[in-house]
Symmetry: C2
Subunit: 398 residues, 2 copies
Amino acid sequence: MSNLTITSAQGFRAGTATCGIKQSGKTDVGILVADSPCTAAAVFTSNRFCGAPIVVGREHVRRGRLRAIVVNSGCSNVATGERGVADARAMCAHLAAAIGARPTEVLPSSTGVIGEFLPMAKVRVGIDAAAAVLSASVRAGRAFAEAIMTTDTRVKLAGERFRIGRTTVTVAGCCKGSGMIAPNMATMLGYLTTDAGLAPAQLRRLLKAAVEPTFNRVTVDECESTSDTVAMLASGLACAVTGGTAEARFAAGLRAVCESLAYQIAADGEGATRVLEVAVRGARNPRDAHAAARAIAVSPLVKTAVHGGDPNWGRIVQALGQTRVTYRPEDVVVRLGGTILFRKGAPAPDLDRRAVAKLMKAKHVAIEVDLGAGRAADRVLTCDLSREYVTINADYHT
Amino acid sequence: MSNLTITSAQGFRAGTATCGIKQSGKTDVGILVADSPCTAAAVFTSNRFCGAPIVVGREHVRRGRLRAIVVNSGCSNVATGERGVADARAMCAHLAAAIGARPTEVLPSSTGVIGEFLPMAKVRVGIDAAAAVLSASVRAGRAFAEAIMTTDTRVKLAGERFRIGRTTVTVAGCCKGSGMIAPNMATMLGYLTTDAGLAPAQLRRLLKAAVEPTFNRVTVDECESTSDTVAMLASGLACAVTGGTAEARFAAGLRAVCESLAYQIAADGEGATRVLEVAVRGARNPRDAHAAARAIAVSPLVKTAVHGGDPNWGRIVQALGQTRVTYRPEDVVVRLGGTILFRKGAPAPDLDRRAVAKLMKAKHVAIEVDLGAGRAADRVLTCDLSREYVTINADYHT
């Protein structure tokens, strides 16, 4: 776990509060406030029933400038019609008034149960309380990451420090997400800060490029949330990112942060006991590579086999067979942790079931599929499917 | 449960045996033998890694004539390469020799673990033993239905008797299937018999038409099996199905049998405690209707909410939002057991959560979605997702 948090980059403070949206009594309001207006970019869910905060957030981030982010957990403000949109706007206005910004400089997020209205009186109290304790400490950044959690069991933080020229630049982030996770656009709530300086279009492009191979390659249950948001603020207090070398260094740092956060989501998938990485190569094109990896990663039969440490590898082949990607079955090679399970249309002759079972029981289970049909590759991260996933989701609401 | 079995139609006998493929010691070989060659048709899985029996079965049913069906459970003979195909042929040849038929008049099926070779010595002993006890009794038909079971907890039988002119015609069937069930082509093993007489092309057409709205609309885990087969034999001993009225009557009887069997599969889905029926109407076209119904029916979040009797209906909207079908969110109406949950983009104003929770806990949970975009409709049957599903599939192999 990183010691860096969203307050580690210069120019950011965070505050949190408990206002009673969550029945558990845990913190449920988090705000991130920049000392001055920042360059901003965000990617959002492509779910058609997106939440009211997404509608408002898209509007507010359009110009590429933001001062603050306000998040509540415990209620997602999704499927709440016009009243929901008004509530999301009210959240922004309330925080804006408290910090002396314009409402359109605030990006709102909500996460939790779908189909209930926000208790706005509580939310207002929470925002005021959080604004009263704004701090640039690591502890405040960590508290923000805790305040956005729902079914997450662990706080998810990542950060990178690197040099651009002679200046040290920080990129840090946190995220929440453990169920309703699917690799389509952003797949959770994630917030990133940096003290590097970027132009709006540049930040948008780099954020999108970092999200695609990381957050968009994580699936827990292939359910695409109605609230997914990854937002990034760049204060520019350290140095500007200009020129190819500086941009490449920044892009690498940003990708590493997203990569770490994405892995933490897979590892903390609802009920997860192990991470499953499905890597596909030899595909005819990138679309095929992604489709094949995803088909295996979403299969409940593969995921339960991995949960049970069951060497029932035939299910990998079954899941692949369900896709319409290009390959000849006899060319396909399936490996588990480097060991060949299947090739030439049949089990590997010297297959040792006990060794396979052992590989299935690792903390990180690596399935590799070579389609033998080309040069494209991709990979998807997921986790096992356990009884605990069902317990969490059968009893979530009540 | 029907009192009719696959031996209820005139001209069919069944036999079963225990040959030790299943470790449980339950029956694992079933044969269905017609007194004389029958008109035959079958639909198979579209999974690209289909089992060896599918390869051989497609060949044998091509001419539309069969004498017998041989099935083993406990090992699916899938992902077994050329040796697997040779084994499937050997099963046919062995039964053919025992009953005085040609090997190509026998359709083979295998169901169970993927990626293991059939223990052919045991299989041969099993076929001989089953052939020695062939009987047209209801008990023999029922025993056949038991012999094809894997994780099924209940035997699945259905039958219809109706008149065509002055003659009584019987259509009866049995099936197995409770996991690895997805609505794409046939979705399980199903065997149907009738004493009506039909031409091969006619039977093929009517079988396909009956399978589409029934077996192809059941999903348990959206995993399309590598072994799926629905095969039908028509002895013609009762009367010929000629003319529109007779054919319509036959088609209705056949559909009713498939409908009943499909429902039994959903009700016996692995770990299922209730059936979930998702009906969509108001879709712009049939493809949209199917896609929307399927998206909701496969959602693990909807299925776990139904399992927990949790009125977390927002997940229905979330699942719908993930699709790319045509509708305006504000036109969508969602009902549960007739009660409106959601319309005009927001929860129904007078929504009683306790009443919703009660509807979620019914044995048959009916979700209805009106997309308000056209006149097409469809529906998909599934079941809840329980801890038991995970238990069954995490520990299946060992």
